[in-house]
């Protein structure tokens, strides 16, 4: 694993617990954390999962399951105007094979919702 990448996901995991703590107004044990990651966000889901598990525990959120909704990027081909979806940077246009394109979306990274452990409401 790339050491640099791990550091980056570690600070993102801290940002996630800060956002969750602010939204809930307190620290409680969580069952599940639902997030969305775009394939062009530069985030490694596995590295983030590893970091988040540690950070959530240390920050007092228990051991929630991290559920990652991995979206597809939306791109538009600059050679034939086809709008298409891709799961990474390398997937070319399905119409003409070109990888010359403009990015419409795919860099998103959001905390969508959390589910509290039973008896925590």
């Amino acid at each position: 694993m790339n050491g640099g990448a791990t550091m980056h996901e570690l600070s993102l995991a801290h940002d996630m617990t800060r956002i969750i703590g602010n939204a809930l107004g307190r620290k409680v044990h969580l069952d599940r954390v639902n997030i969305t990651i775009g394939p062009l966000s530069g985030i490694s889901p596995e590295s983030l999962r590893f970091c988040f598990t540690e950070v959530a525990k240390i920050e007092g959120f228990g051991e929630p399951e991290l559920v990652i909704n991995l979206t597809r990027a939306k791109l538009i081909c600059l050679d034939c105007d086809t709008e298409y979806e891709a799961k990474d940077f390398y997937q070319g246009c399905p119409g003409c094979g070109s990888i010359s394109r403009r990015i419409l979306s795919g860099r998103e990274f959001t905390v969508d919702s959390v589910e509290l452990e039973e008896g925590n409401d």
Partner: protein, 222 residues
């Protein structure tokens, strides 16, 4: 207790980058309000960010100020000061990228008031992965690639090279010793990033630096 009330789902719907993006907007407003044009310079360690900035410091003099991001040491800031510009060193203490909050803090320590100041250059921590997701409030993001690193790096780090406005290929004085294919690098960068502008330079010999500095100068005095 009945089952329905024990499961509680709380909607959050917040971008994880929202705090960074708020500080980036603040930085943009602060610097833009003073008429200062801002660059964010990103490359792998040793590609020549500080060397390029030293060369720019000689061109721009006190019209430019520099924020240096390093994990440790003030060395790069000292090099910039020696070349004739105000410099502020951020020591990230381990973090592999700068964020907009750290830049905001640095700006609060710098003298942004001289009428002469027109350009703020931020040297990010040497890393091709982590800095790419962090908007610092820059007007122009520059990716620097040096020829000894190889021309395959652009497609290996698409997250960065798709996010830059300008690609600077550095250490061109070494090109004859290496099999770096400049045209291939440019083609691959354009395929990820159709609007990218490209400059080839040597910070060591000064080759291409005047053209590059002139281009930067045109962005704020055009």
């Amino acid at each position: 207790m009945c089952d329905e009330v024990t499961e509680q789902k709380v909607d959050i719907t917040t971008s994880v980058m929202s705090k960074n993006d708020r500080f980036a907007a603040d930085n943009r407003e602060l610097l833009g309000g003073k008429g200062i044009y801002t660059l964010n310079l990103i490359s792998s360690p040793g590609a020549g960010k500080t060397a390029v900035l030293e060369s720019m410091a000689r061109f721009f003099g006190p019209r430019m100020a520099v924020i240096e991001g390093d994990i440790q040491t003030r060395r790069d800031a000292e090099r910039i000061e020696k070349a004739g510009c105000q410099a502020w060193q951020i020591e990230t203490g381990g973090a592999c990228h700068l964020d907009a909050h750290a830049v905001n803090h640095a700006l609060s320590h710098m003298n942004l008031d001289p009428d002469s100041l027109q350009l703020m250059a931020i040297e990010n921590v040497g890393n091709l992965i982590c800095p790419s997701g962090y908007d610092l409030g820059e007007d122009m993001r520059i990716g620097l690639l040096s020829v000894p690193e190889g021309d395959d790096k652009i497609l290996k780090y698409p997250s960065l090279f798709s996010s830059i406005n300008v690609l600077v290929i550095n250490k061109m004085d070494l090109i004859s010793h290496l099999d770096f294919d400049v045209d291939r690098a440019i083609d691959e960068c354009r395929s990820l990033n159709p609007d990218v502008l490209v400059f080839t330079v040597s910070a060591k010999t000064g080759e291409g630096m005047e053209e590059f500095c002139g281009f930067v100068e045109n962005q704020f005095s055009g």
